[in-house]
Symmetry: C2
Subunit: 216 residues, 2 copies
């Protein structure tokens, strides 16, 4: 896989990595830092579709479907591993095992989107936030980002609001409720989870394993 690594890219917080509708010649794997995937409607409303964490693959959609259906931007400073798309694609096409990995990635992503859809469609505000905290935290654990129940979570409340289909104000008040219940706090870009089980219960989720992702 290293053969197709073109280089590393360092990105400042707030910078765009990929634009909705674009067809970039590069693919990336996040190495450090976190970011956002989001779609924008014509009238400006924004849906955050997922958070980008280390080991995530970025740009697959453009590679497969021709153009990106969402934008990607950095929320913290990030380091990305850069691949050349055409090279990469030839490689994948010639190696069934790799094609399988790609499908796998896509399926995992789809699986997550289904869960997110369920969260936004069915859960109340407090359940959604508990769900998001829980998901993020479990993901962080599997990536080794958690120490003493704390992990970096360098987003704004507005980002979480846009991810969960809530207003900023209501998100803020709901975060406060979860803090008061002593389940989790989120301050200064760090998420501290005091009671994972309580979170999971409030979120109405069964404790399932975080799906492994092939690392490219």
């Amino acid at each position: 896989m290293q053969r197709f690594k073109v280089g590393e890219m360092v990105i400042d917080a707030g910078a765009q990595i990929l634009m909705q509708g674009s067809n970039s010649p590069q693919l990336y794997t996040a190495l450090h830092g976190m970011g956002l995937r989001y779609k924008t409607l014509e009238d400006g409303r924004r849906q955050v579709v997922n958070f980008v964490m280390p080991a995530d693959f970025v740009g697959l959609q453009a590679a497969v479907m021709g153009e990106m259906a969402h934008s990607v931007e950095a929320s913290s400073n990030m380091v990305l591993c850069v691949f050349d798309r055409s090279e990469f694609w030839n490689f994948v096409k010639s190696q069934p095992a790799r094609a399988y990995d790609i499908t796998w990635l896509s399926a995992v992503e789809e699986h997550f989107m289904g869960e997110a859809l369920t969260a936004v469609g069915q859960r109340s505000a407090i359940e959604r936030i508990a769900w998001a905290y829980y998901k993020v935290f479990r993901r962080g654990e599997s990536l080794g980002l958690v120490s003493r129940s704390r992990m970096p979570f360098p987003f704004r409340q507005q980002d979480l609001a846009d991810a969960l289909g809530l207003s900023l104000v209501h998100t803020n008040k709901t975060i406060a409720k979860i803090r008061e219940r002593q389940m989790a706090t989120w301050e200064n870009g760090a998420l501290h989870v005091a009671d994972v089980d309580a979170l999971a219960k409030l979120a109405v989720t069964e404790r399932e394993d975080v799906p492994k992702r092939p690392f490219l």
Copy 2:
């Protein structure tokens, strides 16, 4: 592809095809009729994740990830083309072009889920229903199911409500509004679209092409 066809399966309306959490040895392609994909929470809430239409592939998730993340059931009588999973998988692995198709399918599905998430997360009730109508209708067109602006849509209002994260009652009232606005009607299992452009505008969508899907 035909080599791996094990047979055809005829299913009555209301029957389960796949269960959430199961790991069926079969894969299907829908040939006739329509169905639902949905996830259920422990407390009974249900999120309809997508509608199954002819040419849709069913069971890919279980094939790739080990088990289904959602259930699938028939809403009308259906005819499915049945494949044996293990055979199928060997075949795909040995044929890069087919592997590509599978990846493509998965990517298209992911793309749709992103749109659905955006709809449920950002749009108001009437926008969501307009969006759903619009999506379904365009999809129907591309499948040749539409004649004189009508297409079969054999679902209950409860199904649409669960797809869009709305209550049954509010869905019903919102459907009535769209009917009053003379944009579309939905009665007796058929969707009649009177003004596609008005629907698209109400839905705040740009008119994009329906992604083609490889047929297996």
